[in-house]
């Protein structure tokens, strides 16, 4: 595939659900059989972006922002109400077998493994479903087993595995056909920190080795920070931001944190900004972003400063900020 042709193109994608509505009570239930009242829910209202082959993009937004709806439209599980989605030139909603063979969707709760059998047996079935040549299948399988470091676990019945181990098996199962696009919906949800880190490292390595395009949603900013240079933020079904993660922080962080260590006690730092914490002579101040340079200069001039650091707020706070600012009431 030529690197100039985008892997994913999304133009003005819209998804509107019609939800039946009825009043409580028996009479209303019977009436609704004949005349249905519906309410339109705008899950996605005009989303556009393009993703190049090999990119790893974080897809961020609060619950109900339209992330999962968009992922489902990109994988052919949902028909867009209007607009266009193209993945490797395929229209996902047509669900052509050739398209399905090139993508994968990993969802936290998905269960493609036989509960009572070792994962190896389930992998064998996946081989048959995707019509993988045996030699190629074995090579991919063993590579994934090694990458995720699951070793002999593939020989244990799935029901005897821990949640994290099972998730690893699900991921192997989802990648056996070497998809060129990975849609990961909360892949680390409910896993402990070590396991989250392991899966993160794996996704990065998989992307490096195969050049696959990755679009990932996660509640854990650590996932996004570790994996994605680019993020797309959506809220209320619209794209709020699309660009490098660093720029997001730059654009939306309304505050800076100043960490000041004084040489002697006695100064009142409340005059410079909001004191968030004090530990002996070490103060943490919060000041509006625009005023940070001025406050810093004043501090150095007027207070007995021994040390001063300017910190950007943690990404979680920034994201919270993004959604708070843009909440149209």
């Amino acid at each position: 595939m030529s690197p100039n042709i985008p892997a994913i193109i999304v133009r003005d994608l819209v998804k509107t659900y019609e939800v039946p509505e009825r009043d409580p009570g028996l009479l209303a239930a019977i009436r609704s059989l004949f005349r249905r009242r519906v309410r339109a829910i705008h899950a996605v209202s005009g989303v556009s972006f393009t993703i190049q082959p090999g990119e790893v993009v974080g897809f961020l937004g609060p619950n109900g922002a339209g992330k999962t709806t968009t992922l489902k439209m990109l994988t052919g599980l949902l028909h867009p109400t209007s607009g266009e989605a193209l993945v490797f030139g395929y229209v996902p909603a047509r669900r052509e077998p050739d398209f399905l063979r090139r993508i994968t969707l990993v969802m936290g709760n998905r269960n493609q493994l036989q509960w009572d059998l070792p994962a190896l047996d389930s992998f064998e079935l996946i081989r048959a479903i995707y019509r993988l040549p045996p030699a190629e299948f074995r090579a991919t399988r063993d590579e994934l087993i090694e990458l995720l470091d699951v070793g002999d676990l593939v020989r244990k019945p799935v029901r005897n595995l821990s949640l994290g181990e099972r998730m690893k098996m699900e991921i192997i199962g989802a990648l056996l056909h070497r998809p060129q696009a990975l849609f990961l919906d909360e892949p680390t949800l409910g896993l402990d920190v070590t396991m989250q880190r392991r899966i993160r490292a794996f996704v990065a390595e998989y992307n490096r080795r195969t050049g696959a395009t990755v679009l990932l949603t996660s509640h854990y900013m650590a996932d996004v920070e570790a994996l994605c240079r680019r993020v797309i933020v959506i809220h209320h079904g619209r794209v709020l931001f699309d660009g490098p993660l660093s720029e997001l922080v730059e654009q939306f962080a309304a505050y800076r944190k100043l960490i000041v260590t004084l040489a002697e006690s006695g100064a009142d730092l409340n005059a410079f900004g909001e004191v968030l914490a004090q530990d002996g002579l070490r103060y943490t101040l919060r000041v509006p972003k625009a005023m940070a340079p001025a406050v810093t200069a004043r501090l150095l001039a007027e207070a007995p400063v021994a040390d001063l650091m300017v910190e950007e707020p943690p990404i979680d706070d920034v994201i919270e900020q993004v959604f708070a600012v843009s909440n149209p009431l």
């Binding site: 009570g25 028996l26 239930a29 019977i30």
Partner: protein
């Protein structure tokens, strides 16, 4: 009485909860109607080929069918939902919630679920019995009614105890679907009087799995067949089964507490 108060409280909560889903009543009514039609067609098919079945006339068999309906209504509304919940709780390890209450565990697990709409089958069954009695132009004496009531009560106790024994097996083997399947399969034998079965099966259906017996005895009371010894036997079977079920449940429970500790 404390016991009655607890049962009444659970019943009230359960019924209030079910009343929220009033539309279910109509669907249940529809299902009951289909069930009744099926039973009647089955009966008419048999009597296309014969005038009496092991000494039972069509109208008398209708009585059996009506009592079967009454029993299955009670089973589906009260017994089966509670027993399935027991099995489910054991499966999911949630029985501890019930066991930590200061009430007899067996009582508590037996009264938690009330699927009141399921009583529709019982009401339909009563109508069928009434219809059959009119057809036979039978005049039912008071003493017959009393023995009928006693026999019915014995039957319900026997069915409850049998279900409890089945559900208690879930402490060892967990197979909820098989439990329903097994109970319903055996209980269906009660659609017909036990006297039609080969003798070895009749013994089985009276003593080992007295599900058919539970339906036949009340029917005998209404059709002038019931003898004193049979009624005594029914009471004995109900009592014996209840004791066995209680002991078995306790044994299972002690195993459960031991295993989860």
């Amino acid at each position: 009485m404390d016991l009655a108060r607890i049962v009444a409280t659970f019943a009230r909560i359960g019924i209030l909860n079910e009343l929220q889903y009033r539309a279910n009543f109509f669907f249940q009514l529809l299902e009951s109607a289909i069930g009744l039609a099926t039973a009647l067609i089955g009966l008419s098919l048999v009597f296309r080929h014969t005038t009496a079945l092991a000494g039972w006339t069509p109208a008398e068999l209708l009585v059996v069918m009506g009592i079967y309906g009454v029993m299955s209504g009670i089973v589906q509304a009260l017994i089966q939902p509670n027993m399935l919940r027991l099995a489910q709780d054991v499966l999911e390890g949630k029985l501890d919630y019930a066991l930590t209450k200061p009430v007899d565990a067996q009582l508590l697990i037996s009264i938690r679920e009330w699927q009141v709409w399921r009583f529709t089958n019982a009401v339909v069954g009563l109508f069928v019995i009434g219809w059959a009695l009119l057809w036979m132009q039978a005049s039912v004496r008071l003493d017959q009614l009393i023995t009928f009531g006693i026999a019915l009560l014995c039957g319900v106790i026997a069915l409850y105890s049998f279900w409890l024994i089945l559900a208690t097996t879930s402490f060892w083997v967990i197979q909820i679907e098989s439990l329903i399947n097994l109970f319903e399969g055996l209980f269906a034998a009660g659609r017909w009087p036990v006297s039609i079965y080969p003798s070895w099966l009749r013994v089985l259906l009276t003593f080992l799995v007295p599900v058919a017996f539970a339906v036949t005895v009340p029917a005998e009371a209404l059709t002038n067949r019931l003898t004193g010894p049979t009624l005594a036997l029914a009471a004995g079977v109900a009592l014996g089964l209840f004791v066995i079920a209680r002991l078995f449940f306790r044994w299972g429970l002690s195993r459960y507490s031991g295993a989860s500790a």
